[in-house]
Amino acid sequence: MAETALTHPSEGPGRLPGWRGIAADWASDQRAFKNVSWGKAMMWIFLLSDTFIFSCFLLSYMTARMSTTVPWPNPSEVFALNFAGKHIPLILIAIMTFILISSSGTMAMAVNFGYRRDRVRTAALMLVTAAFGATFVGMQAFEWTKLIMEGVRPWGNPWGAPQFGASFFMITGFHGTHVTIGVIFLIAIARKVLRGDFDVERRGFFTSRKGYYEIVEIMGLYWHFVDLVWVFIFALFYLW
């Protein structure tokens, strides 16, 4: 039953559209999310809970920044780099943003090739995504090192409000952890794709369930979410 692979053509046969569809889906006494497998629904619900976690971090940062009487360090200058004798504001963060967006693009295409059962291209694009992710984490490690050398600590820094360090390490650290986990997740799934697990519906080592190419999309949801969180961090922490 669970393996009928009801994967989402958005309007399946006999489904009501629009508001009536919501009422019918939720009131049907079966499963609310038609066309969506349990794996995908659970990934979405996990991402929703993760949204709240990151929201709480950003909220506490907002509260600290709004309530302090000491001036907040100017991120534009804190994260500036000297390139070829020029002082460019926020350049490292901008490059990191572009890298993460690119990784999202390759991930979206990997999902697409996955559903076309193009084993090699799917795995290759996932590995490219993982490489972008690893580059991102590397640059973040560089950024952390630079700031720590300049004397930023969770309890203080040379430029202003002491909460700056705590907010910075907490928010970017948690996001970096997500990227790292994503890279591991990507490599694990890419290996399975390359091995052809989803073509022969090989059963998983831990779950004993048959594998489908949908896992690439579920993995993609996680990865895009990591990019999504960065959009908010970039806007609210680095640019504000």
């Binding site: 309007e11 006999g14 619900i45 996955g114 999309e217 993609g220 949801l221 908010f232």
Partner: protein
């Protein structure tokens, strides 16, 4: 009883409705042309560049904040709608996932009031006269 009725009704619609909506594009899983992803990718680059330029040109005040928020919301919308395929999911899932974060906005409003109050008290009692 009513559930069964709704369901039955849904079944009756089946041939008329399903056949059209599930065209060849949606044959199996989320299948969309690669071009769509490339276009969205391009837009994300443009929007990121724009938000970087806000900082590069050192815009200030309400102009800066509204531009940052605008680009942020546009980028987030593109990622969720196209890359995460929310635009093609059934509304039951979309609303279940997208409405709860509204509670965060309420939380933001509460904390803005709270931090303004804290700031006021700190100014009043703790700020060292300079």
């Amino acid at each position: 009883m009513t559930n069964a009725a709704v369901h039955m009704e849904g079944q009756l619609h089946a041939p008329a409705h399903g056949a059209v909506a599930t065209g060849a594009v949606h044959a199996k899983g989320q299948q969309h042309p690669i071009k769509l992803y490339l276009v969205v990718w391009g837009w994300l680059f443009v929007l990121s560049t724009c938000s970087y330029l806000v900082d590069y040109f050192g815009l200030h005040g309400y102009l800066r904040w509204s531009l940052i928020l605008l680009f942020m919301v546009l980028k987030a919308g593109l990622i969720v709608a196209v890359f995460m395929h929310m635009a093609w999911e059934r509304l039951a899932l979309a609303y279940a996932i997208l409405t709860p974060p509204i509670a965060v906005l309420v939380f933001v409003a509460i904390m803005v009031l709270e931090s303004e109050y804290t700031h006021f008290l700190r100014e009043l009692f703790f700020a060292t006269p300079s």
